[in-house]
Structure formats: C-alpha cells, structure tokens
Symmetry: C2
Subunit: 232 residues, 2 copies
DNA sequence: GGTCAAGATTTGTGATCGCGATATTGCAAA
DNA sequence: TTTGCAATATCGCGATCACAAATCTTGACC
C-alpha cells in the first residue's frame, strides 16, 4: 500500500536516510538480531544497506549516546555485552521508574484506557501459551507501555524507553533459555495482577505487582543466564 | 600544564574532533551560554569552531538523542524551550531518581566519602553567600553528584545526568532571577539537612531532604519564571 | 608447529562537493 | 508603510575522497 496522492503521484519520502537507518538498527537491536559483543562498522553496514557510511555514522552516534551501542577505544561500536552487575543495576532502575509510572498511571486511567490494557494483557497471556518468544516479547512491551503511556509524564516514558533499549536486545537472547517451555513463564508473570490492581484503582498494589513482575522475571533470567566472566 | 612526554614533545591529542565539539557544547549548554529557542546550525557553528561541519553534525546527533537539543522539522536543532509542564515533569522525575540515589548512597557512604561531601556542602553554602550564580550552580552540581556517585548504580547516575542535561541550561537562566539576592536561596536549600541525615545513616531522611530541596527549588523557580506561552 | 614481521586491507575521521529545500533579503507595486 | 515576489544566501543531507591508525593476512624462518 504505497502512499499515493489524489493525483496518483507517490508521496515524496522526506524521512532522512540516517533516520531510517536509526530506526532499522533500533528494531534489529530490540529484536535481538545482533549478538552481544558483535562489532559493527559503519562501512560494512553501509554497504549492506546500500548507502554511504554517513547516515550509518549518524545512527551510531545517536545509539551510542543512548548506550544502545558501546563505543570501543578505537572509535568502533559494538553491541553491548551485558554483565550480571549491569543487568542487576538496570533491573533496579526499572523497578523504580516503571513502578512509579504504574503508580501514576493507575490514578489517571479511565474506562477506555483500561479496555486497551486488558486487550494487551490477554494477548500477552496468549503469546506465552503459544510459545512464540518474539511475539511474547513484543506483546510484553506493548502491554507494559500501554500502562506507562498514561503516567502523564512524557519525560519518564523517555527514560524508561532508554533503559529498555539497553535491556531489550539482551532479553531476547535470554528468553531463548525457555525454549519450548515459554508457557511456564506465566508462573512468574504478574501482569494479570497488575490489571486487577488498576481496575481496583489501587495504585500501591499496581506498583507492587509491576515491581514483582520485573524482579521475578530478572531473577529467573539471572538463574539460568550465562554471563560473561562468570564461568561457562 | 600541557601534556609532555619525557622528550619534551607535546603528546598527540587523539581525542576526536567530534568528541571535543560535543564536550564543548555540553559545557556551553549547561552553563547557560545559549538562549532557549536559539537555533544552531552545523555550518555556522563549524565555521565558528574552525572545523568542517561533520564533527558538529555528530555532536548534534548525540545531544539530540539525549534531548539536550531539540530537532526541528527541517533537521536543524535548537536549544530546547522548556515549558512549565516539561519543567514540572522533569522535576518529578528528578525527585524519584535522585531521591532513590540518595537513599541508596546513604547506606554505602563511609568516612572518607563523607568528608568530601561535607567539603562540597560548605563550598556550596559559601558560593550562595558570595552571590556568584555560575559558581553556585557548579557547586550545586558537584555537591549533589558527590552523593549520587556512591549509589552503586552506574545506570542510575547516567539517567540522572541526562535529566540534568535537560534542566541545566534552563536553571541558569532562571537562577538569574535571584540577581543580587542569591544568598536568600539558602532559605530553601536543604543541603545541610541532607548531610546531617547521611551522617546519621538515616536513608529515609536523606531522601526526604533531597526531594524537598529539589521540589522547593523548583517551586521557587516556577513562581518567578516566565514560561513561554504563559503570558508575559 | 609456532612466531613474528612485512604487506595488504579495513576502519575511523574529517574535509569537501553537489543537490534540493528552506530561509532571508531586496525591491518594486499597491 | 505595507504587501507580494523573485533573487540570493544558507542549510540539511548524503556521497566521495584522503589520510593515518588499527587490524588482519600471509609467509618465511626458527
């Protein structure tokens, strides 16, 4: 479905190349298409994308500022290797930010919002039962941000997104630890409890449920993950 | 004190130009040398700095990713114009993040750390009494981060820094509202109370003091600031 | 088989150029 | 003086080139 004006002309695409490259890299990173530690060079990537290396360099700069890519001493970038310590720190920050956002959102959510959240919640449950990891992660993202979006603080949402940019690519590689048993993740998944708390307008309970969801998920990951420098 | 090798040669400076431009822009932004709403163009800035526009473009990309510069529809960037709403949101995020960081830090600070914090605190008091706004803001930054640095969570510090990058340039222009009466800011400055709470190892009290410091400072600013779109 | 140095390749970095779009200026008409 | 518009200057963007440093390859030698 190409964009067409009323005269049948295709709409001029004014989105800069570097922006497209950036979005493409975010997508690739968040869906775990790169291996942690993988080195990315602007020239090679440019060749793969069929552009010059300039737009790629721009995208690298942005991603590196957000810590979604790690700068190497020689100026190259690599997909971040997350250590157990960094993962714990990011989890701690997540509980603080996402807990607060949930608490704020609970007080502002109305019927219409709630209906959308419930839909995301049931889709999330479904995805877990069906065992599709990619779909599960995508639905998990959609569900949580359908709540955070209503916290009334755009700055907070931005910060949460930057944290997810750092954890996201990592989660993908770890969720694979569940293999065919993705449904078992529902045992430590409190998203139904979150919805119930929001319905009851109980902000403190909603915060507690989100925090618990984040923490138990992280603990489960820490249990079965192999982190660099922690033996093999 | 230039870097000299043992042969008296000046050390080759291998810091990339785009990094220097970035640091220079951060410094200029944080010290309020740009007016909110001011448009920055890579070409003009490059000419002023005596470089090509490439390093400037890189620096723009990074600052824009961190929201320290706002992208314009045509791709230019401008120094962010902060609205009353955005300022309130950023303040709310600050209380959450910096409150948590202070609470965590209180539990980890030992005698040596405390001595440095006390020094920063007294320097801050001194700067307020002397009435030098720039010095006050610098000391305020140094004092607060001398605490946050010990929170044991590098990711949290990074997020706090990005928030400061957004509020910093704005604070400068508003602190000028105090004019010759900077010493009066001490009336709503709870940094001595923060130090006392840390000394007493009372994490909850330290958090409350920092939050109060942030909130009352922000309230004072909101009272006398002229925000865009709020009449004149 | 392992080591190391020379050569070849790749890479980051920054300058420059060209294109199309945007913004600014200058001037004439109302 | 204000309005309309064309000439001009400036700008974002992306491609390409040059150069030095880093990295990889290769092959001779111990």
């Amino acid at each position: 479905m190409a964009d067409r004006t009323q005269f049948g002309l295709s709409a001029i695409d004014s989105v800069p190349l570097h922006e497209k490259v950036y979005l493409e890299l975010v997508r690739a990173l968040m869906s775990g298409q790169f291996t942690p530690g993988q080195k990315l060079t602007s020239r090679r990537l440019a060749k793969e994308l069929g552009t010059s290396d300039m737009p790629v360099r721009s995208a690298f700069m942005r991603l590196q500022a957000l810590r979604a890519l790690s700068p190497m001493p020689n100026g190259s970038v690599e997909v971040p290797v997350i250590s157990a310590e960094r993962f714990s720190q990011l989890t701690a920050v997540r509980t603080i930010l996402e807990g607060s956002a949930t608490e704020l959102a609970t007080k502002r959510i109305n019927g219409n919002n709630l209906r959308a959240i419930r839909r995301h919640s049931s889709e999330l449950t479904l995805a877990a039962r069906e065992g599709d990891i990619d779909d599960y992660l995508r639905k998990n993202y959609a569900f949580k941000f359908s709540i955070y979006r209503h916290c009334g603080n755009e700055q907070m949402i931005f910060l949460i997104e930057t944290v997810w940019m750092q954890v996201g690519p990592f989660l993908r590689n770890l969720a694979m630890g569940f293999e065919d048993d993705l449904a078992s993740i529902l045992d430590i998944d409190y998203h139904e409890e979150v919805v119930a708390a929001i319905e009851a307008q109980d902000a403190a309970r909603a915060r507690a449920a989100i925090v618990r969801d984040i923490e138990e998920g992280a603990a489960h990951i820490l249990r079965q993950a192999r982190f660099p420098g922690a033996g093999r």
